[in-house]
Symmetry: C2
Subunit: 335 residues, 2 copies
DNA sequence: TAAATTTACGCAATCGTTTGCGTAAATTAA
DNA sequence: TTAATTTACGCAAACGATTGCGTAAATTTA
């Protein structure tokens, strides 16, 4: 039953003295093939372990039955959980998921999008590190009609599918909690300015301060891109000049940079400065002193994003209706 | 320059009054096309943003220019780093990497291997959660001649490409270090029995004990599969009955289960029991008390595995020469 | 019983490329 | 000047599957 090369339809057709088209239809259980013939073909195909060549199928049908997801990095637990949610839904509907990493490089991101288009993925889940306009340009220039669902970092307009968590509320809650702990000089380690998550988290942070009668001090707000050096420089500068009594960190990485920097401070500051940050890392709750965490419902975000994408892929009526889902994020590990 | 659907060769050929074959050859810089024609075709193709359809190319050439990597889970830093190493090499050679997760399910693993074969990946990097024999069976039944490089968990025979770290030495060093810390009742939390890494790490652990004149106590050795519950049960049982003074954990997950279990113990045990475990998690070094870590050179393992795979893919002479690379792993975070 | 319909299959085009082969025209060699 | 070669292109098959259409034979209908 083993063979040297994959069995194809014409192998079966020759062996059974049937035409290729009959074999194809028999395997696809077409009504225009006799029951007896079907039985013969199907059992023979099973015996020789026939598997349709997916490339040929894809070329014919102009469908690949796979969706792509582009994330900054897979080792980030937040994105890993999203991927898991996506796979959960996609696999259950017979789709495969191809994961791409941009490592937060615009160049890589654009190349990947081009490649996804050329390989004719049926859809794309995207959390762009890049300028939104540029992404849409690239997408258009491929000429592909590639359905896209944005998640986490999303465009500001309403002409696209989006899945996010309630960044504003989460940032508000986190900052408010720090204030309740008696903190007043709360630094905000923000991600790159200009992208949706940074803007919303900043807004929540500011609102919480103002709500508590604390004015927003621009000196305590630092934007960092994805390079570790920039974050470290910001942290050192903050410690030297302003000595905040708490940090609110806007991403997984920034949370850990903050945590590490604070732990290196001399006591008693090291154990007095409180930190709360966005993170889905399962190890975070093992840290002492605690790193309080805003945990996003990443798995669900992935599930929902995949469902939206597959819906638009398989939809018959072409009138698009853009979806915008916002899920709550929870503050955890606050003793 | 934008268009509604992707431009294909025949679009260009019509627009320029040339045959499709001439256009194809011109774009591929064939010597049998005049310089002037080439210039015209290439500039027009650039103008209309022509990108070859990779599915059609793949079907024609029976090559897809992508390789697959199958890992238990991507959120595990060890595997994430391996993937990064693989992508580093593969991308530089024009290959794309498709990542699959088995979540340590045999069923998923087999389905994925089948799918990889059907989609005609040019090669496969595999760290099987599954019975080796079964994996080879499945591979054979697809009829695909799919080059494979195993990494981390590898078959015992020498008729395949393998990349591993020196598990024996690392386990020996880790155990020896614990002994030097004055520990005698060192428990070993091992992974599933029967797979290469478990066997080798167990051997290193035993050798270190014997080397120090300590007999190996089977009660202190616990095999756990990938389910958290099993590990927790083992840990509770160990604590109730034997109260080891140190733990040597054989994987990322087991390390953290151990760490968490120990931290929950009443003092002074919680701070006296020492733990050393295999982990590549960047957060591990932030833990206090320390979690000493055996760090595998995951990025390099990924690079080497990808190089081996791409070599066998692109090799002209068909006589296979199997490679077996073993890299050292380092004990870190031991103050 | 003749006509209409259904059943069960084969032929050939198609998806978008690549490539072996054929062939005029242009060039070189004899 | 004629023959041999090279240049520069087009035709058509191929990769492996799906599918519209055509058509004998079998069945049903009038």
């Amino acid at each position: 039953m083993d063979q040297e090369r994959p069995v194809k339809l014409s192998d079966i057709s020759k062996a059974l003295n049937l035409s290729v088209s009959t074999v194809s239809r028999a395997l696809n259980d077409s009504h225009e093939i006799g029951d007896e013939t079907k039985r013969i073909v199907q059992s023979y195909a099973a015996k020789v372990n026939y598997r349709p060549n997916l490339i040929a199928q894809s070329l014919k049908e102009m469908k690949t039955r796979y969706i792509a997801i582009i994330v900054p990095e897979i080792s980030n637990s937040f994105f890993a959980e999203i991927v898991n949610g996506v796979e959960f839904v996609a696999n259950s509907q017979g789709y495969h998921v191809v994961i791409y990493q941009t490592q937060d490089s615009t160049e890589r991101e654009i190349n990947i999008i081009r490649d996804v288009a050329r390989r004719k993925a049926d859809g794309l889940l995207l959390s762009p590190s890049t300028n939104q306009k540029e992404v849409k340009e690239v997408m258009k220039s491929t000429g592909a009609k590639l359905p896209v669902v944005y998640f986490d970092r999303v465009p500001s307009d309403n002409y696209c599918h989006k899945v996010v968590c309630d960044n504003y509320q989460a940032a508000f809650d986190a900052t408010t909690w720090l204030i309740k702990q008696g903190k007043r000089r709360i630094a905000h380690m923000a991600g790159p300015s200009g992208i949706s998550i940074s803007i919303e988290r900043m807004a929540g942070y500011s609102a919480a301060l103002l709500n508590a009668g604390i004015s927003v001090d621009p000196n305590l707000i630092r934007y960092s891109n994805f390079l570790a050096q920039e974050a470290w420089d910001n942290l050192r500068d903050l410690e030297e000049k302003y000595q905040p009594d708490a940090y609110f960190a806007s991403s997984d990485r920034l949370s850990f940079y903050c945590y590490e920097a604070v732990q290196k401070l001399p006591e008693p500051r090291a154990s007095e400065v409180k930190i709360v940050g966005f993170t889905n890392a399962p190890l975070a709750h093992l840290l002492r002193p605690k790193l309080s965490a805003i945990v996003q419902p990443a798995f669900d975000m992935g599930k929902i994003a995949a469902e939206m994408l597959l819906n638009t892929i398989t939809k018959k009526n072409k009138d698009i209706e853009y979806g915008f889902i916002k899920l709550p994020a929870l503050l955890k590990n606050t003793e």
